[in-house]
Symmetry: none
Subunit: 407 residues, 2 copies
């Protein structure tokens, strides 16, 4: 039903992170001026999506895996490996990976979990101190942005069920990691992690860069806090499981990591989401749609605004997507899917289990009578209430890549 001049047999899949909300009295989607998205809703088919299942609050990681056909019960490796992949680290089968962040300790107490909001460049300078070998385990740190990075443990007999050293709070000491499953493998990983934390404290407190920071009145980045341990394993990529080629256009490390994990290629544009970058993402999507079956485009701003409880900001991000991205994408000739990975209601400042609206605009799908893309309008949508697990089969049907069941 889509009016296109030059069709390409591919899908541009736009995830507006955290887009779902509660009406207060309007939701940000209802309040936003978004004529271009609504035009797609009018001509396409809509519905409501529970990324995991009804009433389950999705994490961003599990939700994206599920949307792309990977059951998190089977394929979720923990957050660490996804973040490590997302910042470009190479992982081998069995590596244990963590998220890491610089913090400031004073007298054994954490006084700032972001090391005085250390800048990316300053963090990068400290990277060189933080790769080492403890016992028979090689450890690699890679810095990403701000105070963030990832750590990989590579060695024999390591378990992944270890607690965080990051206490997720200030005015407390760094946690000792313990083996959560009491196996010798996790005991070993926890022991290495505790030794590594001591190692980091020592080398960081001696680092010239931190002395300079203190001399100029800044907080030193004198500890590295680790969390989100997970074991990397190779999973069969999209191509092997579904016969499709995917590519990811996202700023955040996690989304890039999920994409790499399941065998998508990446378009590396800046992580910021100013007007120019949003437009560049849209142009990159149109270009990629010529060569890939599935083009995953991610925008983070709505989720950030939701976490900040900022209604107007969330509405504005939706309006920017509508104004800057949709007109470009709509001309691609590709099928278009727009949805979110979960709701992040402004009133809650955190993820919730409320369904997210979804729209599909494709000549390989039907249309319905819904004319607007928001949480309330899409209740009447022709897709009904679907789950994350339905998405990949629906996409394969659009792409004519489904295998017939029976004969």
């Amino acid at each position: 039903m889509a009016e296109k001049t030059e069709d390409v047999n591919s899908i541009i899949f736009l995830v507006i992170d955290g887009v779902g909300d509660l009406p207060t009295p309007k939701t940000p989607l209802q309040a936003a001026k978004k004529p271009n998205i609504d035009k797609l809703a009018d001509k396409g088919i809509t519905g409501l999506l529970s990324p995991i299942k009804r009433g389950t609050v999705p994490g961003s990681d599990t939700s994206h895996l599920r949307l792309f056909g990977y059951d998190p019960e089977v394929f979720y490796p923990g957050r660490g490996p996804l973040e490590a992949l997302g910042i470009g680290m190479h992982l081998n089968e069995g590596d244990i990976a963590f998220r890491a962040n610089f913090a400031t300790v004073k007298g054994g107490v954490i006084i700032d979990r972001r090391a005085g909001r250390i800048e990316t460049g300053d963090g990068k300078k400290l990277e060189k101190y933080l790769s080492t070998r403890i016992e028979d385990v090689d450890i690699v740190y890679k810095h990403s942005v701000d105070h963030r990075g990832a750590v990989v443990f590579r060695g024999p007999g390591l378990g992944e069920f270890v607690s965080d050293t990051d206490p997720h709070a200030t005015s407390t000491s760094v946690n000792k990691s313990v083996a959560l499953d009491k196996t010798p493998q996790s005991e070993k990983a926890a022991r290495i992690l505790n030794k590594y934390t001591e190692y980091c404290a020592r080398v960081l407190s001696e680092a010239a860069e931190n002395k300079e920071r203190e001399n100029s009145g800044k907080l030193p980045a004198n500890i590295l806090l680790l969390r989100g341990a997970g074991r990397y394993r190779h999973v069969p990529p999209l191509d092997e499981r579904f016969g499709i080629k995917g590519i990811c256009i996202a700023g955040g490390a996690l989304y890039r990591g999920v994409a790499r994990y399941i065998g998508m290629d990446l378009v590396l544009l800046p992580s910021t989401e100013d007007d120019k970058i949003l437009q560049e993402r849209a142009y990159a999507a149109v270009k990629a749609a010529k060569d890939y079956d599935l083009v995953f485009v991610h925008v983070k701003g709505c989720d950030n605004a939701g976490h900040d409880g900022d209604f107007n900001k969330k509405r504005e991000v939706i309006e920017k997507i509508d104004r800057l991205m949709i007109p470009i994408i709509a001309k691609s000739g590709a099928s278009i899917i727009i949805t979110g990975d979960h709701s992040t209601p402004v009133s809650r400042k955190e993820h919730s289990a409320h369904e997210v609206p979804i729209l599909i605009y494709s000549k390989e799908e039907r249309y319905d009578n819904v004319k607007k893309f928001d949480e309330i309008s899409c209740m009447d949508g022709g897709l009904g209430h679907i789950r994350g697990k339905d998405i990949m089969p629906i996409m394969l049907n659009i792409l004519k890549k489904s295998e017939k069941y029976g004969s």
Copy 2:
């Protein structure tokens, strides 16, 4: 809510094969004049059905099994046994059955997969050559219509996981069958199948009927190609599983085969679908509804039109069903269910995963606000989005044959 003079406590279940479609800009159901079906939709309750599950492309065999309460994951025997049953063959537990078709080979190469469109009567004359015994396996061929038939292997230690000898193409040689699961049982079946193929080639090339064909300028039916191997096993019939008696009024062998497989009786009317036969099917359904709980009526024409990409033909078949069958069936006093086993969009010429509309007209069901039976109108239906597995429980509830869960 149904206006009936003399109610019978039964269901006429009309499957319009392949009826679902995509809007271009209308679907065949939307374009068709079908006042009688729409009247049932207006008075009844509607919805959208995924015969297997969302996004899964159903085969006709798996879909019909699922609609009648037989999970294909448990009960699907492969296509061969269903076809063999459908053409009236007797099957014993453990028999391996195949679909078969006459073809023409020349110099070891298949030049026509339908043996010059051999007529039913000519194929029937060759039947006598094709039953034999190889090693300790009895082999029976039975002819059905045109170039088609079925073959049954009966003997000890036979496996069903064997590849087709039919290459599903011309300008190539006949395939050697191999054991797909490498078991001795399938190895044996593949060996017998290859010997049987050689046997068929020999007796068919020597057959007087084929010499006559060649003398009169026709292609000889000098090879039999086999495909769709499956193992027959007795499954508990409808009566035993659900306490209902079923009967099938279908032309195609597959549908009759599914019906026999699950213990339905058959009404044997011609396979063609001209006006008179369609009316006879309707009258037969009304008659059967007096003695059976479930009367399965099948019409194939829409699926054929879909596979041919013929929009007008598909629309016409719907109009014929509406004009010739529905007025008769609507007076039966039975509950009426109308749906399809899958979509066969004209634009795709093959099955797709798009949901099919369903309507239920019964005083044992509610009504909704939908007034027309088509893919778009039924999005608003009171049944919502249901799956094949929901159908038998819904029918048992209508028939008041459900068992209470708990007390």
